[in-house]
């Protein structure tokens, strides 16, 4: 009888767990539909949207339900940030939403893990969205795996118009000079790989996806040209060390709102637009990134640019309803509503022409910058920290001779490739 009860209890508990889950661990198949999208009757869908877009998403889902009122669809919309969504989906596909918004840099991870259902009717989606955003949603097998939602997931130049004129804002040197004159700072997060990759992209290096082992691939870049670019930035940072400030981007709105004002310009994205507008009011200016003088020549700064996509969970129980909803959430009207309500730049080519888009400086800036960018897709996890370190060495290190920069650059590439 010793320990008997305890053991029995343990066994019963364990056994009940196993019995309860016995069915769940087996192969599960989900049926697709036939020729046309045939929404399942009584479909129950879970949607993940970022918190700021939750109300709008709920509204759009209601509209979708109304459109298909004969199908008796239930939709539950939950908050999940776009940067977290992929992690959560990969963690547990069963617990994840049927339809979820995510940032394009997560696309590769999701696709290789087979977490995304292919788009059933891709032709229409390909037609109505910008080429770049479609490319960001296309897998290595050539099939479309997600619905483009925005074209704006990147950063651009924000500045105080009362300090920096629009002409000055066209070149990095002009901005720094204007800042110096006003005794204000220029802020960017040079110690973050997301921003510091500007320094190498401007030198002509671009990303070419990852190979089968997940190693980052680059184009056949001219090493000297990249080092030229890095050197030009390093020189500027040191020449203007009283003006240039590397810090987290949240310091840009704060520094602009501070009394006395500390920051006059910076490189920031749409997530801070509201805060910056509040700080600067009518003086709010936004534009694509400036040019920078490399070897006497003005070169456009090239950024890393992402897209927001909406994906359908590969194991969704109602794949047709989910596809139809994702399609609806990314159509022209929905994208315009997002541009109006949230300030998100559309990927839909027609929506891009809408007044709400052309009138907004930040959306226009983001869309203009997207034309001078490297797409943030198929990136290896090893890209970020070496890139961040390289960015830091450019402005922090006392020794910024060409040889050192070149050595650091080579080290960075080797670390990214995990050699």
């Amino acid at each position: 009888m010793k320990k008997f009860l305890a053991l029995l209890l343990a066994v019963l508990m364990l056994a009940s767990i196993l019995v309860a889950c016995g069915g769940g661990g087996d192969k599960k198949t989900s049926d697709g539909g036939d020729a046309s999208i045939d929404i399942e009757d009584g479909a129950k869908l879970l949607v993940w949207a970022p918190d700021k877009a939750i109300d709008l998403t709920k509204e759009l889902c209601e509209a979708f339900k109304k459109e298909h009122s004969d199908k008796n669809i239930t939709i539950d919309v939950q908050v999940q940030s776009e940067s977290e969504a992929a992690t959560q989906v990969l963690n547990d596909k069963d617990a994840a939403a049927d339809v979820f918004g995510f940032a394009s840099d997560q696309f590769n991870k999701l696709m290789t893990a087979n977490a995304l259902a292919p788009v059933f009717d891709p032709d229409d989606i390909i037609d109505r969205n910008s080429e770049a955003s479609v490319k960001a949603a296309t897998g290595s097998d050539g099939a479309l795996y997600a619905f483009p939602e925005t074209d704006d997931n990147g950063y651009f130049l924000v500045y105080d118009k009362s300090i920096i004129s629009d002409e000055q804002a066209a070149s990095f040197e002009g901005i720094l000079e204007a800042c110096r004159k006003a005794g204000k700072k220029f802020v960017m997060d040079a110690g973050n790989g997301y921003y510091s990759c500007i320094f190498i992209f401007t030198g002509g290096l671009t990303l070419e996806g990852t190979d089968a082992e997940g190693t980052q691939q680059f184009n056949s870049y001219d090493e000297e040209a990249v080092v030229d670019s890095l050197e030009a930035f390093a020189n500027l940072f040191h020449d203007y060390s009283d003006v240039f400030l590397s810090s987290e981007v949240a310091k840009i709105p704060t520094g602009m709102a501070a009394d006395p004002q500390i920051v006059a310009a910076g490189i920031d994205g749409t997530w801070d637009t509201n805060a910056i507008k509040e700080a600067l009011g009518d003086n709010y200016g936004a534009a694509k990134l400036p040019t920078v003088k490399i070897k006497g020549e003005d070169k456009q700064m090239i950024s890393l640019h992402g897209y927001k996509l909406i994906g359908v969970n590969a194991v969704s129980e109602y794949p047709n309803a989910a596809q139809a909803l994702a399609d609806f959430l990314t159509n022209e009207e929905s994208q315009i509503k997002r541009a109006e309500g949230l300030g998100w730049g559309p990927s839909n080519t027609k929506a891009k022409e809408d007044k709400s888009v052309t009138d907004s400086p930040s959306i226009s800036a983001a869309l203009a910058q997207s034309e001078n960018s490297v797409a943030q897709v198929n990136m290896s996890d090893t890209f970020w920290s070496p890139m961040a370190t390289l960015g830091n060495t450019l402005w922090k290190d006392k020794d910024y001779s060409r040889d050192t920069i070149k050595a650091n650059f080579q080290k960075t590439i080797a670390s990214i490739k995990d050699e």
Binding site: D51, K52, S83, N91, A250, W271, D272
Partner: protein, 288 residues
């Protein structure tokens, strides 16, 4: 001679006052900074000066009645944490007392091996098992009930924290037990009627530490409720979200105000119970 001795003592004491004052200031300064900036007004979200220039209660108003509950829903987070803390506190306290009493007062064959197992388990880094715990919770279907899952997470292993209260029980003379046994009391009765009433310090200590736990944990909670919406967050995850990239430039002061609201009751509780805490921990934690 006596006079100079006295004078020297005054000088030494004065020096000690200065030293203690200085150190004390350093120690409380982050807290003062926290409270100060939670009342900071103005347009800038982050601090730009050490002492704020404008003062406001807006941050607290925003925390108590959030303008957009989808983003910041502090009252809900507070309630979630409170419920979790109450339940895990009750279960943990029971478990700790049961284990430590058994190890301290009862003698049985498995005692030594079990104590050793407890010691060995304590040497594995806690985070190692977090993925496994997630899968376990999933297998038990508890992810849909994040509160229950978190209560289990916080209280299931509580029995392993028996050392301090075992140390405390060890200091209660065994003669008491023996006398009671002669009077015909069972061990069950001894535990409830004799030992427990004498264990107020350790009881308070255990209750306090297990109640505070859920308010401060931001790792396990993140893993368990990360896939759920913000309505299931605990204060720790909710507040941490506010200092993330997307929120910092607009919600940082709410983070500060929320932190003050969490810190004040815990601090009050702690100061109020400090005497018991010290008694418990010195009696239990540090004998040879």
């Amino acid at each position: 001679m006596i006079k100079s001795y006295k004078a020297r003592r005054t000088v030494v004491n004065a020096l000690i006052y200065v030293l203690l004052g200085g150190l004390g200031l350093i120690w409380v300064s982050p807290l003062v900074y926290l409270v100060m900036h939670s009342f900071r007004g103005g347009k800038a979200e982050l601090a730009t000066t050490i002492i704020p220039k404008e003062w406001t209660l807006d941050n607290y108003a925003k925390v108590f009645s959030p303008p957009d509950p989808n983003v910041v829903n502090f009252p809900q987070w507070f309630m979630n944490t409170f419920i979790i803390a109450i339940f895990s506190c009750i279960i943990s306290t029971l478990a700790v007392l049961m284990v430590s009493y058994a190890f301290s007062r009862l003698r049985f064959k498995a005692r030594k091996p079990l104590i050793n197992v407890g010691m060995i388990l304590g040497m594995f880094p806690g985070f190692m098992t977090m993925i496994a715990i997630y899968y376990l919770m999933k297998a038990m279907g508890l992810l849909a009930m994040p509160k229950v899952a978190l209560i289990i997470c916080y209280s299931a292993g509580a029995g392993l924290g028996y050392q301090i209260s075992k140390g405390f029980f060890d200091t209660i003379p065994r003669a008491l037990d023996e006398a009671a046994t002669i009077d015909g009391a069972t061990r069950n009765q001894i535990f409830w009627k004799i030992i427990l009433p004498m264990s107020k310090p350790i009881l308070v200590y255990t209750v306090l530490t297990s109640f505070i736990g859920p308010w401060t944990d931001f790792i396990l909670a993140k893993i368990i409720v990360g896939a759920q919406g913000p309505e299931h967050y605990t204060v720790a995850i909710g507040l941490q979200k506010l200092v993330g990239l997307e929120y910092k430039s607009q919600h940082y002061r709410e983070f500060l105000a929320g932190s003050v609201i969490v810190a004040v009751p815990i601090t009050a509780l702690f100061l109020f119970m400090q005497r018991y805490y010290v008694e418990g921990v010195t009696a239990g934690g540090v004998k040879g």
